[in-house]
């Protein structure tokens, strides 16, 4: 819900969400041209989560992510040029091409290396939070992970560590399988295989504050994150936020099953025949369209404003893609740097 946000906040958040959407579309386009090394995971459908949480974070806070980190990076304020270049393995990328998509990082934004290992990042996030606590520094660590991570013992241990010492951690569990009927015993990436029915029950049993938020609702995410951050810096310990989104219907990498988002869709509501089967998703679950509609409804923007923003965003992404494409690959000698003294 928008009303809790100021017009500026709202516009800025929307712009970021759209930036993420266009960025991911560009990734898929590049993949189709065979330009993206390795396989990658896009953030389409989850934009409100990263943007909503990041909006309440402080510069000094730490942000930790997983294999699905593009959206978090951009929401944190990363330069799309350097982010795209990194995904293409170029010398101008955030890590000079070494990290790529799985290990997104922007160290200058306190966004250290993402972990590609499911749940691997959770213990690490308790450590950065511990450092804050140890130094009595009023900062928090926000860690993003999927509901799949909750199947790993590492997640359990990390929650326990955070609970024992009341560490300032925001555990943001992005449940992108929320619509899947939960049938225990059926596995596969997008069907939860966790017998804990409500994901928040585990944190609850550890006396960690919990909240369940709708991931297409920017305002709700924003508010929940704000409360959680305030709790953490005032010594109240961690919060476990389950953010529920409907799986992006184009989960099949690297196909853009939903097609390129048409921002006019926010008001025309015209679903091209090709995407008729996704009408419900466009109508209810697409966070980008949802926020656009909310802003239109309360009069923050006009249809025309939206088109103008979109054009600017698309331009920014086009430039990022151009920059990345024109950037050189790293010199092969750099393959040996950054471990031992050369």
């Amino acid at each position: 819900m928008i009303p809790v946000l100021s017009r500026d906040d709202c516009l800025q958040a929307f712009r970021k969400m759209l930036l993420i959407r266009r960025f991911e579309e560009a990734c898929i386009a590049a993949a189709h041209k065979g330009q993206v090394p390795g396989h990658f995971h896009v953030y389409i459908g989850q934009e409100a989560t990263g943007v909503g949480v990041m909006a309440v974070l402080d510069k000094g806070d730490f942000v930790h992510s997983t294999h699905r980190n593009h959206g978090h990076l951009l929401a944190r304020g990363a330069d799309p040029k350097k982010a795209f270049a990194e995904i293409l393995g170029k010398a101008t990328g955030y890590a000079g091409g070494k990290a790529g998509t799985l290990h997104g990082c922007a160290p200058d934004l306190n966004f250290p290396l993402s972990s590609g290992i499911v749940a691997g990042i959770l213990p690490i996030s308790t450590g950065t939070a511990y450092a804050f606590k140890h130094r009595q520094q009023p900062n928090v660590s926000a860690v993003f992970f999927g509901e799949g991570a909750m199947e790993e013992g590492a997640a359990y241990e990390a929650l326990n560590l955070a609970a024992l010492w009341k560490l300032p951690v925001l555990f943001i569990c992005e449940n992108n399988t929320a619509e899947v009927e939960r049938t225990p015993g059926q596995a596969g990436y997008h069907a939860p295989n966790l017998s804990i029915f409500e994901l928040t029950d585990l944190a609850k049993s550890m006396n960690i504050a919990t909240t369940i938020v709708d991931g297409s609702d920017l305002g709700a995410v924003w508010n929940a994150a704000k409360t959680a951050r305030a709790r953490a810096v005032s010594g109240g310990g961690a919060t476990f936020m389950e953010v529920r989104t409907e799986t992006w219907p184009g989960g099949q990498w690297p196909t853009l099953v939903t097609g390129r988002t048409d921002i006019r869709h926010a008001w025309t509501r015209e679903v091209p025949e090709k995407y008729a089967h996704l009408a419900a998703w466009f109508e209810r679950n697409d966070p980008v369209l949802s926020v656009a509609r909310e802003m239109l409804a309360v009069g923050i923007v006009s249809e025309r404003d939206l088109s103008t923003i979109d054009a600017a965003v698309q331009d920014e992404i086009d430039q990022a893609v151009k920059f990345a494409n024109e950037s050189p690959f790293p010199d092969s000698q750099t393959a040996l740097t950054h471990v031992w003294p050369q």
Binding site: P37, K98, G120, E152, A187, G188, F329, P330, A335, H338
Partner: protein, 322 residues
């Protein structure tokens, strides 16, 4: 003897194992190929659906579960997926499974196969490119097999099963589409390397994907009138020092290709044979081609720079011969 892909032979071998013995089950839905090969694996999954346990992302838990199932009379093939994920289950793989038979005085057996697609899969980056095989050679009581040819996969799997020992199957994501003659079938002796190509000038030792690289190098070397003998280790534990020594006794020259990091690697172990059992056989220093001691970068030119590529094998062999 027809040409099939390694992947087809592998799927068939697993299927045969399951058809022959209903105690064989699969734990872990990861399967025997990467995302791109899912369609080839599907028929296997379809045929044996009730004997496939699709698990949560809980490698430590389900590898341990496999060990228990093995103790209780089943024969689990545990599919871990990418080799790096074996680390999640390390306590069960290296500190439970290999100890049980020995510690119980031979009374409790753990007949199980752990399967993973290990190695540099191209742009998997540091955390999805692990080669745990040298580490696994440090787990006494664990058998490590690495079939690289369609003709061997069934034989090695059968032998592993017959041995009733816990076994780690080092598979490689890039092997799937290798087209090879398939004449395999019977059980092969474990711990016996294969001379895949006879030659007299230089010995090339490889296993898994590096065997493929060695064979390609041998072909190129032949064009340069260098006659390379190519050895496929096939099993890493036990390791067949005799066959390697026999070859080097003839050639006096040794090149080893091994995706592992250099220190305490498969290549180290193979080279070190020539400081004792094979002492004096080398006429020239051995050449080890490992992945240098840096994590695996994503960027293609960096990764290519570090891989034990065919041209590096060729160059090393030429240097030794000339």
């Amino acid at each position: 003897m027809t040409d099939i892909t390694f992947g087809e032979a592998k799927i068939k071998a697993v299927g045969d194992l399951m058809r022959d013995d209903e105690r064989v089950i699969i734990i872990g839905g990861a399967g025997f190929g990467g995302l791109l090969h899912a369609k080839h694996v599907k028929p296997l999954h379809d045929e044996f659906e009730p004997r496939i346990l699709r698990t949560p992302i809980a490698e430590l838990g389900f590898c341990g579960m496999g060990i228990g199932a093995a103790m209780a009379g089943l024969y689990p093939i545990v599919t871990i997926g990418t080799g790096s994920f074996a680390f999640e289950a390390w306590p069960q793989i290296v500190n439970e499974a290999p100890n049980i038979s020995y510690m119980s005085g031979g009374q409790v057996k753990v007949p199980i196969i752990f399967h993973a697609l290990v190695g540099i899969r191209i742009s998997g980056a540091a955390q999805h490119s692990a080669r745990p095989q040298a580490m696994l050679m440090q787990a006494a009581g664990l058998q490590v097999i690495a079939p690289a040819r369609a003709s061997d996969v069934k034989g090695l799997l059968s032998a592993a099963k017959d041995s009733e020992r816990p076994t780690f199957w080092i598979d490689h994501p890039l092997l799937f589409e290798e087209k090879q003659p398939s004449n395999g079938g019977t059980s092969l002796p474990l711990g016996k390397a294969a001379v895949v190509r006879k030659g007299k000038d230089v010995t090339l030792v490889g296993y898994s994907i590096d065997l493929v690289r060695c064979l390609e190098a041998a072909t190129q070397l032949a064009n340069a009138s260098i006659d390379a003998e190519v050895i496929d280790l096939r099993t890493l534990t036990p390791l067949d020092a005799d066959t390697i020594c026999e070859s080097v006794a003839k050639t006096g020259r040794l090149v080893i290709a091994d995706e592992c990091y250099p220190a305490a690697s498969v290549a180290s172990e193979v080279a070190s044979i020539f400081t004792d059992r094979g002492f004096g056989l080398l006429k020239k220093p051995a050449r080890r081609l490992n992945f240098p001691a840096v994590p695996v970068p994503l960027s293609p030119p960096l990764e290519q720079h570090l891989l034990p590529r065919v041209d590096k094998i060729v160059a090393a062999a030429k240097e030794l011969v000339n």
